[in-house]
């Protein structure tokens, strides 16, 4: 594994890193342009009862008296120093630092993302391999069709169906919002079950499908025939020889799914009143919180880029023959 990290691979990863930093600048600048396009006077929305002096002060603080470029670089300067701006409100103190609201909302979303990924992989890995091993049997066809149907239902519809079935009909769980671990692990898990299932069903379907297809093509390779002619047990062959070379697409997809849940889980967060990061971002957009929007979107983009880098490293570490073979 260590020898496989050759100079050319490191160089490839570095090239991608540079590309991604360029992308990061483009994202944040693009968002600046969009934010500046937002209609209406943001200052009077943020401080509806402010005096003209207060409004002018806020305008200066937001940088609205400057042009787009000056505005962008002053935001960027603050952002890299860890100052994510203020979330303005009409209360006496004038607002809350965006960073403290992130500290409140992001952990929930990260937990939601971790649980969802864990549950999805825990189901799809054995299922994908099993279906590939039993390809074209009745079991394969039935399960594949059910998964296909599930992946075609929007996750908010699954969430509502769960809330109705588990919450109303069976009276097992209450969609009451987020309960932190500190208030009891059991209650915490209970509060996350429905959101995690809603998000997982679709990803289980996608992951299983990807792994099934790749495993079927791996099973046709010579080294598998070789291993089974050596008399190795099927279970050993599947896990030791087949799973790893078949897992590339799955891992890529898993990493990208994780990235997309930061900010992209907004609907499930709002159905189950989790008050997560996605809801915070959607709320900031709805009420025109300039600085919050900029900083949150930048964080989303950074997360996306990090997960892409992880994928790159995966690809570099996994057997090069597989990589070339799959044309990745």
């Amino acid at each position: 594994m260590h020898e496989t990290m050759t100079v050319s691979k490191v160089r490839g990863i570095l090239t991608n890193l540079v590309k991604m930093i360029v992308v990061l600048f483009l994202v944040t600048f693009g968002i600046t342009v969009l934010v500046r396009l937002l209609p209406g006077d943001p200052v009077s929305t943020l401080l509806p009862f402010g005096s003209p002096e207060q409004l002018d002060a806020l305008r200066a603080e937001l940088g609205l008296d400057k042009n787009v470029f000056q505005y962008y670089f002053s935001w960027l300067g603050d952002f890299v120093r860890g100052d994510f701006g203020t979330y303005y409100s009409t209360t006496a103190d004038g607002g809350t630092p965006v960073s403290s609201m992130i500290a409140q909302t992001l952990p929930r979303t990260l937990l939601l993302m971790l649980y969802t990924t864990f549950v999805s992989l825990a189901f799809s890995i054995p299922l994908g391999i099993l279906l590939a091993y039993r390809a074209q049997t009745r079991l394969d066809k039935t399960v594949s069709n059910v998964l296909f149907g599930l992946s075609s239902i929007p996750n908010f519809a699954i969430g509502l169906a769960l809330a109705y079935l588990l919450g109303v009909k069976l009276d097992l769980l209450n969609p009451v919002g987020y309960i932190p671990i500190s208030e009891g692990l059991g209650e915490h898990i209970k509060s996350m079950i429905m959101p995690v299932i809603s998000l997982s069903l679709g990803t289980i379907a996608t992951f299983t499908r990807l792994l099934r297809v790749d495993t079927i093509s791996t099973l046709k390779e010579d080294f598998v025939t070789m291993a089974s002619s050596k008399g190795l047990s099927n279970r050993w062959i599947l896990w030791r020889h087949v799973f790893r070379p078949s897992s590339l697409t799955l891992l890529t997809s898993a990493a990208l799914t994780m990235a997309s849940l930061i900010g992209g889980a907004v609907v499930i967060e709002s159905v189950f009143a989790l008050n997560g990061f996605g809801m915070f971002l959607a709320m900031s957009i709805a009420v025109r919180q300039y600085l919050a929007i900029q900083s949150l979107v930048a964080l989303v983009a950074i997360a996306f880029i990090l997960f892409n880098l992880i994928v790159d490293v995966f690809y570099a570490v996994i057997d090069p023959r597989v990589r070339n073979h799959r044309g990745a």
Binding site: K19, M20, V22, V23, L24, L26, V27, G30, I31, L34, V35, L37, L38, P39, F148, G149, S151, S152, I153, P154, F156, A157, L160, A161, A163, Y164, G167, V168, S260, G263, G264, V266, V267, S270, V271, G278, L281, A282, I285, A286, R288, I293, V297, V300, A301, F304, I305
Partner: protein, 293 residues
């Protein structure tokens, strides 16, 4: 897999025709494609003629029949305003069908043209364009759409269509670019260049027909996502006119009532979304199998 397709891309028109005929034959035998096509056909029919079938106006309120269970008078029941859920689902069909098709078509045309150009010209144009497209796809579609709709002050379906088309363009561009990159190396393109054909001719008349299969598959895949995106945005109340019978809006207006056991104004539009999405996914699945892209 790839060898058969690149052989299939040897360029005589005759060969192209036989390949097309063969693919059609395969499609007609493909169960997934057929089932999907029948369901989608049903929804397109409803979109076209739903207003003739609807027993009530979608926004007519009957205050004598509020939140009534499904019955012979109100097939799918009524919502809290006494509106006929059946007629509203029919009216919503037209909205989602035209919105998703137009948005995907827009994304395919814009993304396809960009991808063609990027794959053909390569160089700086390609590098810069790809970075911009990556920047757009670095943020979840939903967030970009919410922002763009807010920025354009767009509580209207046509702005939503434009925004979704724009957000989808990068993915389509990437698919087309990849197909064009391998295509542009082939002899027929060099031959066309030697004949001093003009660039638009080479791009659209020579290369485009040969990269159509991945474009068609990508179109159907994106169409499925567009249905999801439109349903989700309208569920969040973004980019729709108030009182619109959009399926997603119907769900968001009525779902709180499922806790008092009034499930019908939520269930029927939700089932409609799911079946429409299933049909499109079945079609793209069938196409994928036949085209082997």
């Amino acid at each position: 897999m790839n060898t058969s397709t690149s052989a299939a891309r040897s360029k005589s028109n005759e060969e192209r025709k036989t390949i097309r005929a063969e693919r059609l034959k395969l499609l007609r035998r493909n169960k997934a494609f057929l089932v999907g096509a029948v369901i989608l056909g049903f929804w397109i029919f409803i979109a076209a003629f739903g207003s003739f079938i609807a027993p009530h106006a979608y926004d007519a309120m009957d205050f004598m029949a509020v939140s009534k269970k499904p019955s012979s008078r109100y097939l799918f029941g009524t919502n809290k305003l006494g509106q006929d859920v059946f007629s509203r689902v029919l009216a919503g069909t037209q909205l989602i069908v035209w919105m998703s098709f137009t948005a995907t078509a827009l994304g395919t045309i814009v993304g396809g043209s960009l991808g063609l150009a990027a794959g053909y010209f390569k160089g700086w144009f390609d590098i810069i364009l790809m970075r911009i497209l990556e920047a757009i796809s670095a943020i979840p579609v939903l967030i970009v759409a919410l922002l763009a709709i807010a920025a354009l002050d767009g509580q209207s379906s046509s702005i939503t269509v434009g925004v979704i088309g724009f957000v989808f363009a990068p993915n389509i561009a990437r698919t087309v670019r990849a197909a064009v990159l391998s295509e542009a190396e082939l002899e027929y393109v060099a031959a066309a260049r030697l004949r001093a054909e003009r660039t638009p001719h080479i791009l659209f008349k020579e290369i485009l027909p040969n990269v159509l299969p991945p474009i068609i598959v990508e179109f159907t895949v994106r169409l499925g996502y567009a249905i999801f995106a439109i349903a989700t945005l309208s569920f969040l109340g973004a980019g729709v006119e108030t009182g619109s019978p959009n399926w997603g809006s119907q769900i968001s207006e009525n779902w709180a009532y499922i806790f008092s056991n009034i499930w019908w104004p939520t269930l029927f539009p939700a089932a409609a979304i799911a079946s429409l999405a299933v049909s499109v996914n079945l079609i793209s699945d069938g196409l994928l199998e036949v085209f082997e892209v």
